[in-house]
Symmetry: C2
Subunit: 505 residues, 2 copies
Amino acid sequence: MSDGKKSDGKIRRPRAETPKGFRDYFGAEVTERRAMLEAITAVYHRYGFDPLETSAVETVEALGKFLPDVDRPNEGVFGWQDGEDADWLALRYDLTAPLARVAAQFRNDLPSPYRRYAFGPVWRNEKPGPGRFRQFYQCDADTVGTASVAADAEICAMLSDALEVVGIPRGDYVVKVNNRKVLNGVMEVAGVLDPTDPERFANERGIVLRAIDKIDRLGPEGVRALLGEGRKDESGDFTKGAGLSAEQAEVVMGFTTAKRESGTATIARLRELVGTSVIGAEGVEELETIAALLDAQGYGPDRILIDPGVVRGLGYYTGPVYEAELTFEILDEKGRKRQFGSVAGGGRYDDLVKRFTGQSVPATGVSIGVDRLLAALHAKGRISGDTTGPVVVTVMDRDRMADYMGMVADLRNAGIRAEVYLGNPKNFGNQLKYADKRQSPIAVIQGGNEAEKGTVILKDLILGAQIAQNATLEEWKDRPAQVEIPRADLVAEVQKMLAQDSLAR
Amino acid sequence: MSDGKKSDGKIRRPRAETPKGFRDYFGAEVTERRAMLEAITAVYHRYGFDPLETSAVETVEALGKFLPDVDRPNEGVFGWQDGEDADWLALRYDLTAPLARVAAQFRNDLPSPYRRYAFGPVWRNEKPGPGRFRQFYQCDADTVGTASVAADAEICAMLSDALEVVGIPRGDYVVKVNNRKVLNGVMEVAGVLDPTDPERFANERGIVLRAIDKIDRLGPEGVRALLGEGRKDESGDFTKGAGLSAEQAEVVMGFTTAKRESGTATIARLRELVGTSVIGAEGVEELETIAALLDAQGYGPDRILIDPGVVRGLGYYTGPVYEAELTFEILDEKGRKRQFGSVAGGGRYDDLVKRFTGQSVPATGVSIGVDRLLAALHAKGRISGDTTGPVVVTVMDRDRMADYMGMVADLRNAGIRAEVYLGNPKNFGNQLKYADKRQSPIAVIQGGNEAEKGTVILKDLILGAQIAQNATLEEWKDRPAQVEIPRADLVAEVQKMLAQDSLAR
C-alpha cells in the first residue's frame, strides 16, 4: 500500500469520484430497475425466448464497426490492447454485436431459429451530457435464423406486451413499423439506388437515412436541406448533404409523409411510391404480411401501426424496422410540453452473422432503452416506490448489545426487515435521526428500566410523523405512537404495528 | 461497413470467439445464478442492507492498489487512458474498492452506518486457466462507518443464513472467524512487529500472511519454509521467505494450530500466545465479544466458529476476518475426494475510505464467490433445473401462419410459454427435432384436414419420450401421447396436458 506522499512531502489523496460520464445507482434505483427487467423478461420467457449473458469484453474484431450514430469507425468504444502483439479488446457497445458473435460461434449447438433475450450494461465512449451516461442498460430480444417476417411481427407484439406489463397503459404508447426495403424502393425511384450495383450511391443513401431519422428534431425543411446541398445548424456548423436534386428530394420526402388514416391506406400509398421497384414491392408486401399476422393475434393499430416515418438510424437494418414511442406528454427541462418519445427500437439485420461465417443468417430483434423506460414509469407515477426501511433496534446500553442483537434475530427470523443501530450509541437523538434517514417504520427501545421489567418500547415512526403533521387528538388517543410491551411479544406487536402502518398509508 | 477485403483480395473474416479467459452463459446458467442471487439478496435486505450498483469503470486512482494475490501494484486490472492527458480508467476488480470510493464521495448523504449489498461482474487481468475466468460474479455485503464488532458478528450470521437459504444445509458449511489483531500480537511476540514503528518488518509480515493463507495447499512444512529462507515449488521456482529464525517461525506456527475443541478453549489458547501484546489482547477480546453476540442470536459452533487457521490473504484487513467453507466432499478433476472448500470471505478494513478523506471510516464486509457457490449447489443436486421449453406450434401450411400465430397468442395470453416454429417449415421432421432441442413439452399440429374440421392435434412430447423408453401398453391406452381436440379447447387441453406431465415427472 502506497503512503500517498508526493515528492514535496504533501499527502496526495485520490479523488473520490466516478469517471466522467459514469454514475452510481442507490437503493430504490437498483430495485426498481430490477423489478422492471423481471417483468419484461417474464414476457420474453413466455414468448419462448431464452436468456443469454455474454461477457462485457469482446475482441474489437468481433464487435465490428456498427456503433450507431458514429460516422468514423472504431470510435465510440472503450478499448485497449490485451498485452503486446495481442488482440485489441473493447467493452461491448450494445447487445446485438455480441449476439451475432455467439450465433456464429455456437451455430452448431444452438437451436435454429434461436430466440434469445439479454439485458445488462453497455458502454459508449462518447461525450457525456445531462442525463447521458457512458454506461447504461439495454434489454434486448432477438430471433436469429429465420427470414420469416412472422418473427418481426412477433417481436412487435412482444414489445407491446412488455410495455403494458411494466405499467404503460394501452393508448399511451404505439409501436411503429416500417420497412427499409420500401425506403430502398423509394430511393430507386429517386435514382439514388441502382439494383445492379448496390454499392453505388451508398454514401448518399447513408446521409438520406440519417436525415430522415432526425425529422422529429430537424423538421421537414431541415431534412430537405440535408437531402440537398447541406444544412447549417444553430451553432453555425455545416453538415454536408446528400446532393439530391429538388425532384429527387421530393420523392424521398413523399415517403416520410406517406402515413394515412389506416394501415391499409398507408400500404396502398407506399405501393404507389415504390412504383416498379422490385425491392420496394417486396417491402410493401412484407408490411402487409406483418399487419395481417398482428391482426390475427389481436394487435390492432391502437397498439401497433405501419408508419413510414420510422427508419432507425442504424446502417445494418435490411428489412422491417420498428420503434416503440410513448405518446403521453411530459414537461422538458425548460417546462415545455413534449411527447415522451422513443423507448425501444429494432429491426431486421440479415448480414451481422454473415460477417463471421460467410453464410447468410437472417435475424431480427429489439432493444429497450432501460433507463428511458424507467424514467417514463416515474413520469407516469407507475413506480410504487416502497422504500420502507428496517425496524431499528436502538442501543441504550452498550453492554447489552447481545440482548439487542437477540431482538433483531427474532424479528429477522419472522421475516421482518430489522437491524441494531451500529453507530456510536452515546447520542440517542442521532439514533432516531438515523432511523428517520433509513425511513424506518418502528424504533425499538429498551433502557435499563425496561430491561428489569422485561419489556420494550415500540415507537411507531410513521404514525409519529403523521401526528406531527396533521393528526387530531382523537386519533392519538385511539392509537398511541409509542407503546410499552412485554419483550416476549416483540415479534407479534411489531407485526401488528407494521400492518396498521401499511393500512394507514 | 467494411467489406472485409485484405490487400491480397481475399476476404478476411473476423473470428467468432470470446477473448481468451471470457465466456458466455446460456439459458439455465443465467436463470440459476439469478435465482441464487435473488435468494441471497433477500436475506441481505431482511438484515437492513440496501442495494448499490456502481459503474463497472473506475479511475485507476480511485481503485488503488489492493488487488488480492498480486504482489506488483497496478497489475491484474484491465485499464486504458481516457484520451490524451486524461485519467487512466480501469474495470473494477472487486466490489469493495468501488464501495470505499462511494462511501467517501457520498459521505454527507449516506446514512451512517451504511449497510449496502452489491452484486455483479468483476474483472481480473490474470492468466486464465481451467474454470478460472477473467470476468466473474461477486455478491458482497458491507457495513461502513462502525467500529463495533457487532457489525462483524452480524455479517457472519447473515452469511450463514444466506448459505442455508440457497440450499447448503446446516452441517455442510461452517463460517470460520479469526482476527488479524491476534496474528499481529503473535507477530509482536515473534519479534516481527514493533508497535512503536508499524512500518518496520511490513514486508516480512506480508510474506507470513500469504504463507499462512496457503497452509491448506502447502501444508505446515511448506509454510515453515516460507517463514524461513524460502521454498522451491514443484516446478523448481523459488519463492523467497520471510527470513524468520526457527524460534520465530515456531511462534507463528503455534498460531496456525491454536484451534481447540470449543471456542472458549481456542480463545484461551490465543490469549496465551499473544502474551503481553496489547494489540493481541484487543484481538482476543474482540473474538470473545463476537462469539458472545453470535451465541445470543443462536448461532452456535455448528454454524460459526473461531478458527485461527483463517487469515485471508488480503493486506488491507485490520481486525476480524471470516470465511465460509463448505465441508462436504466432492471429486476433483482426478477423481480424488476433497472438501469443496471456501465460497465466501471477508473481514474488517478500517483504512480503505481513509485513503480518500484522511478520516478513519471503519468498515467490514463479506464477498461471496457466486460461481463457486453455484458450482457447489450443482454438486449437491440443489438446483431444481426446470428447463422446460415452450409449447411449439408447428407449421404445416405456410399460408396459414396467421392461424398458427393466433394459437400461440391464445396460449401466451393464458400465461403458457409458447411459440410458432419460425424456421423453414418444409421438413416436418426438422420441426419436431427443433421442439426436442428446445425441450418442448407439447407440439401443436394443424394440417389442412384438421383446419377444415376445426381441430388441432396435441402431441405430448414428454409422455412420448417416456413411452419410447419404458412405458407399458396399459399406460399407453389410458393416456395417448397424441390427441385431436377442437381448436376452441386448445388452451384448456394444453393446460391439462402440462399438469399431467408435471405430475409424471
